[in-house]
Symmetry: C2
Subunit: 493 residues, 2 copies
């Protein structure tokens, strides 16, 4: 009980006691540090403290401002430099067509033959598609061969930059470009419309995924769980394949990748997703397909989720009958539901959190509204269900402005299970995980949170992954090998 104490020395002793009690609740506080870790911790905390005092002095603090403004400052940050070196375990909340950066798509995919582009009038207004020959029905869109357009432009570099700017959500003035959540989601959806035509071209599809694996690997990530719509890929002659074929293409790339990285990567798994604005009938079919694919490829297709704007689509309860099919059929289909990705409270969107828990979701995507739901918080702790927190996504999609206001700050202060992820890094030009870890460590976490929190977050990402127990063990071995290298690198900085 914090009761006032007469003398200053007694007061200060009591005060320290309370601060220690508070710290005892903090995520990662009981993670043991040994050997070099203490020295690395000192290096990191000296840098963190100086960046924070600079922020307090100038009122200009990267996590407090929009990522598009903060990016140049974060990239110059010493703490960020260290985080990039750090092995980050598993990326558990990322979406299929937003893992590989747009530059690769432009410099690789759009330089392939038969690539057509067209500019619509809808928001975001750019589409791509590969055609055997010039399409004639130009009612929806006036398709032009990229090769010719680029040549006629007289400046390939400028032409490619134009394509990049149209596809990417990056802008100098996000407040003006995206005045509210509806408009920012229009541009976000337009990103996918733009890249789908490139990614789902059979010739591009596997290269795109391989490049994504490489980029995540390069950012110090040992394992990836990709939420994938498993849309059909298409050939030049118009042939299209089914979802199972898309899944097998992912698996082929994954198998090849694992052969090349037997000691430092656990590759990837797929979580099959469908759009939450679908009809009951569509979701009924998708659930049956998901059960079939999970039983056929149990260790690659690991579960199911509903995606797309949660405030806009149907809530989970709308698909209750469909989502109960697996349990009723005695079939196993693990769920990894997006839930509570909203600023609203007491509406069907934040109450998705309750259904995600009732439907036994193994993890919860975002869970941004969780701190407004005491019963949900109780369950998350009791059943050790982690929230997949995506700081930059929540900021770009306008759930929060200053990341120090992110509800995960409250959750870290009281030891709730959390994993850090990036949702759609390619869409806004962030690294696979490093920028999100920076925002979490510098903006959302306490100024006092140190290497122990980073160790907790990275190892938890493996613990809460879909890997089997022995796979988790080897992933941890890989992680700790990289961790020791990381410790030495920091001490040599």
């Amino acid at each position: 009980l914090i009761q006032s104490v007469l003398g200053t020395s007694l007061y200060l002793a009591k005060r320290d006691e309370i601060l220690t009690q508070e710290a005892s609740h903090y995520s990662g506080i009981d993670v043991p540090l040994k050997g070099k870790e203490w020295a690395v911790n000192d290096v990191i905390m000296t840098l963190k403290n100086s960046e924070i005092s600079e922020g307090r002095r100038t009122s200009d603090f990267p996590p407090a401002v929009h990522f598009f403004h903060a990016l140049p400052y974060i990239d110059k940050s010493k703490v960020f430099e260290i985080i990039k070196l750090m092995p980050k375990g598993a990326a558990l909340h990322i979406h299929d067509n937003a893992i590989t950066d747009i530059n690769w798509l432009i410099k690789n995919a759009t330089y392939r033959p038969h690539c057509y582009v067209c500019f619509t009038h809808a928001r975001g207004n750019i589409l791509f598609h590969y055609y055997d020959n010039q399409p004639t029905d130009n009612n929806t869109c006036e398709w032009k061969l990229v090769e010719t357009e680029r040549a006629n432009s007289g400046d390939a570099e400028a032409y490619d930059q134009m394509l990049y700017d149209k596809i990417s959500m990056i802008t100098d003035d996000p407040h003006t470009a995206y005045p509210n959540q509806q408009i920012v989601w229009d541009y976000f959806n337009a990103y996918f419309a733009a890249v789908d035509g490139l990614v789902f071209y059979a010739d591009v599809f596997k290269d795109y995924f391989r490049q994504g694996l490489q980029q995540f690997y390069d950012d110090g990530i040992q394992f990836m769980e990709v939420r994938a719509l498993l849309q059909p890929t298409y050939e030049l002659d118009g042939t299209t394949y089914n979802s199972e074929h898309t899944l097998l293409e992912y698996e082929a790339v994954n198998t090849e990748w694992l052969n090349d990285h037997q000691h430092d990567s656990m590759g990837s798994r797929i979580i099959f997703t469908s759009i939450r604005s679908s009809t009951n009938e569509v979701i009924n079919n998708v659930i049956n397909l998901a059960m079939e694919l999970h039983s056929k490829y149990p260790n690659f297709m690991k579960g199911f989720d509903l995606v797309s704007q949660e405030d806009d689509g149907h809530p989970l309860i709308y698909f209750l009958e469909e989502l109960l099919i697996p349990t009723q059929a005695g079939k196993d289909l693990p769920y990894y539901f997006h839930a509570g990705e909203t600023n609203w409270q007491g509406t069907e969107t934040d109450e998705n959190l309750i259904d995600a828990l009732m439907l036994n979701s193994s993890r919860i995507g975002h869970g941004y509204a969780a701190t407004k739901h005491p019963e949900v918080l109780l369950e998350l702790k009791q059943r050790d269900i982690p929230l997949e927190v995506n700081p930059i996504s929540n900021q770009v999609l306008k759930l929060v402005d200053d990341l120090r206001n992110h509800p995960a700050s409250t959750l870290l202060a009281d030891g709730y299970p959390i994993v850090v992820s990036s949702d759609d890094p390619a869409t806004w030009g962030s690294t696979p995980l490093s920028h999100d870890f920076y925002e979490m460590f510098m903006g959302i976490a306490s100024a006092k949170a140190d290497l122990r929190l980073l160790k907790q977050l990275t190892t938890d990402s493996i613990k809460y992954s879909t890997l089997l127990e022995e796979e988790k063990a080897s992933c941890m071995d890989m992680w700790s090998t990289e961790w020791d290298i990381f410790l030495d690198k920091v001490l040599e900085m």
Copy 2:
């Protein structure tokens, strides 16, 4: 335990049970409604639900945007219309020179003789002072007689509007005008520099306070606790008076006011405040003065607080010795500390919360960082200490952008004691309490929070006030008389 249940009907029953459990935590849920209250609740909730679904549909929702953009929409809101009619109990967190609107100061104070104005180059750049005759040492400021300036301007109305715009923080583009917290605080401090010269002129002082009492009364407020610096008032000939004199001026106005409002107002009390960037020596003197004034006027000067930018000034711990003087001297000096008015976590500013509790603060001003401090939250509940939540202040001074992200949302969801106040309504042109109640009810509270929350918040403001027990009883009587009138008015709408 939220475990998945086989059949849909069982599932839905279990789901309702969980929603009811969650609701049972919510502030005000167990406030009984009787008679007309249920009908009024229906009226309010129909309007609230339609404004929220409009917000969900268009993504344009007043509490989600800056008050300066939201104001015209709030003023057209039916829910706001009802809140204006509602008796709101006590305003427990308001500052001396920000209670009476700027228009009164301009149309009344600056039309008095001997009023001089000057335009400095510092931010906010306007000062006023009354002088017997034209000051000659114009080194700091070139003082000009307002009377002459207004006449020479050829358009008194436009001249007055110019004065208003310079004094007020209101702007069409707050993001550009106030790019960070340091700059917005510069303009905020400049507001006080501008009005102090007018308010502390002895001839204006009592009228200003009387007008403040009137404006709060007109906004349906039964009682006010004013945080006052008790700066000396001055006469034309330069005579200045001491803090006790200022206190007695407040009391004189209060006594006169109570004579005129024996049945529908409890008038006001004063909380003596000092600036937290002062020296230890200054605070030592101030504490001794505060003890003296509290013992001389125990039922009018009710306690002590430290004000001004918390991130910038000294923390409470810096004045530990001074603040322990009353307890050590066995003297009673209740504290009402501003604490945690910050986005930082794990710094001396948010840790003011711990000292406020250890120093037995009866209430806590803002407490914005409380949700990041588990031990503080425990204490607030155990010792039933309310946070004084000032939504619009926290938005204008850039702690939060979208008010649905305000930490009070989490506190309401779990029944923490809270009172709603407005901090400095005159500075940004809001009503004494109605606009802040609107933001709390529509933006911070759940979409399901209804008349019971409003009843809890208004009656709590009396319960947690500095009124003596029998005074609280009469204040409650006044409130319930007004409440019954309010119920009828709503039903006649």
